[in-house]
Amino acid sequence: MDLREQLEREIGDGPPLPPPETRLRAGRRALRRRRALVVVAAAGAAALIGAGAPLVLAQGGPTRGPAPVDTPTVEREEWDRWAENGGFGFDLGGHLRFSRDAVVHERRDGVLPGPRASTALDLTFDGSRTWHVIRHGRNGTWFDMPVVAGHEPDLYRDFDDYVAKVVFSLEQSGSDGPGHLRLETVGGMPSLDGAGTSIGPVVQDGQRAFGFEVESGGEARFVLLRPLAADEWRVERLEAASSATDLASWLRNLGWLPTGEEAS
C-alpha cells in the first residue's frame, strides 16, 4: 500500500465549503478588532509608563524595562505574532521577543548549556501565569517546557525548583518533559546518566522511589526518582548535594529511608 495515495483516497472532500467571502468577512472583523486593541494597548502602555507601574518587556535586554510604545505597522505585526504564540518567542536572530501584553515576573538567560540562546521565564499572559524554559532552535522554532505556575506544588515547589528540574531533565538522555524521564531499568534500578551512589527502592506511604547522587551541570546533586509507569519516572526531589551529608542521610531526612536500606 502506498501511504500517500491511500490517504489521498480515504480523506475525501467533506461537506461543501463556505464561499471565500465568508472567510473574508471574518478576517476583516478580526483585523478591525486587532487594530482597536492596538490603539487601546498603546494608550494603556502610556498610562503605565506615567504611573511607574510594573512594565512589559521589549526585545532582549534586562529583565525589567520600559514598556513598548506604539510603533509603525511592521513592528505591530511582529508583536501580533508573539501574541499568537502565547506572548513571547524567539525571532530568527535568536532574540527573545514579547507581546506587549506579556508581563514578565522573572527572566533568567543562559539556563541551558550549549551555544543556543536559552531562557527561563515566569510570566503572565492572557490571564495565565506560566513558567517556561525555552531554547532557541533553527528556522525560528524554539523548544519550550511550560507549566502553569503553582499548579502542581508537590512537583514544582517554586520557580527555582521548576527551572532546576527542567534543566536536569534536559541533561538526561531520557527527558520526557519537565521533571519527567523515560529511563531503562537495569537490575531493578532506573538507569540515570551521571549517577554515582544509588539507593533503592525506598518506600514512603506505600510509594516506591530511588535515590541517586548525580553529577549534573558540574555539580553534585541528590535526586529522588519515583516511577510513574513501566519506564516513566518523575523527578520527585532534586537538591544540591551537601558535603555535610550523604545520600542515605538525605533520604532519611526526607522520610524515605526510615529503616536504612542498603546502599550500593
Partner: protein
C-alpha cells in the same frame, strides 16, 4: 498596497489577493485539517481560525510567499494546542508519555487506513500527515510542529510502525 473606497465598502489589494488564495486553497487546507483532527466540523473550525489569522497577517505572510505554510502551521499547532494547554505548548522532547491517544475514531464513511491514522496520538498523527501525506521534509515538519528533527523522526518511526502493524505499507 492600493486601497480605495467604492459604494461605502473598503476594498483593497489585500482583499482581492486573500479571496483568490481562499478560493484556490481552502479545499485542500481543510483536508489537511481533517487529516490531523479527524472531524469535518472541527476541521472547518481549524481552517476558519487559520484563515482569519492569515488575513490579519496577510501583508507579512504574503510578502514572504508562505501563505500555504502559514495556514498549515496554524492548523496543526491549534489542533495540538487543544490538548497541550495549559500544560504543554510548542516543542518538547519525547512526547510519547504526554501525548494522549485520540478518542476512538468514528468509522462511518472512512477508510481503514484513515481510521488507523486517527487512532494515533495527536503528535504522531500530525507527523505522519505532514511527512507522509503532504511530503514535507523532516526539517519542515519540525518547524511546523515546533519540535526537534529528532523528535519528528521518532514520532514518524513510531507512527509508521503502528500503521504497519495493521497494513502492508511501502517505504514512504
Amino acid at each position: 498596497m492600493a486601497a480605495h473606497r467604492g459604494g461605502g465598502i473598503l476594498t483593497s489589494e489585500r482583499d482581492d489577493e486573500f479571496t483568490a488564495f481562499v478560493a484556490g486553497r481552502q479545499a485542500r487546507l481543510r483536508r489537511v485539517a481533517y487529516a490531523v483532527c479527524g472531524d469535518w466540523d472541527r476541521a472547518e473550525d481549524l481552517l476558519q481560525t487559520a484563515l482569519t489569522k492569515l488575513y490579519v497577517a496577510w501583508p507579512r505572510v504574503c510578502r514572504d510567499g508562505r501563505e500555504d505554510a502559514y495556514v498549515r502551521q496554524i492548523i496543526v499547532r491549534t489542533n495540538l494546542d487543544e490538548v497541550r494547554r495549559p500544560w504543554w505548548r510548542r516543542e518538547r522532547a519525547g512526547l510519547d508519555g504526554i501525548d494522549p491517544p485520540a478518542p476512538a475514531p468514528d468509522l462511518d464513511a472512512r477508510g481503514d487506513l484513515f481510521a488507523a491514522l486517527q487512532s494515533l496520538p495527536r503528535m504522531q498523527r500530525s507527523v505522519v500527515v505532514l511527512r507522509y501525506w503532504l511530503g514535507l521534509s523532516v526539517a519542515e515538519t519540525a518547524a511546523d510542529l515546533r519540535i526537534s528533527e529528532g523528535t519528528v523522526k521518532s514520532h514518524a518511526h513510531r507512527g509508521l510502525e503502528r500503521l504497519r502493524s495493521e497494513f502492508v505499507i511501502q517505504d514512504p
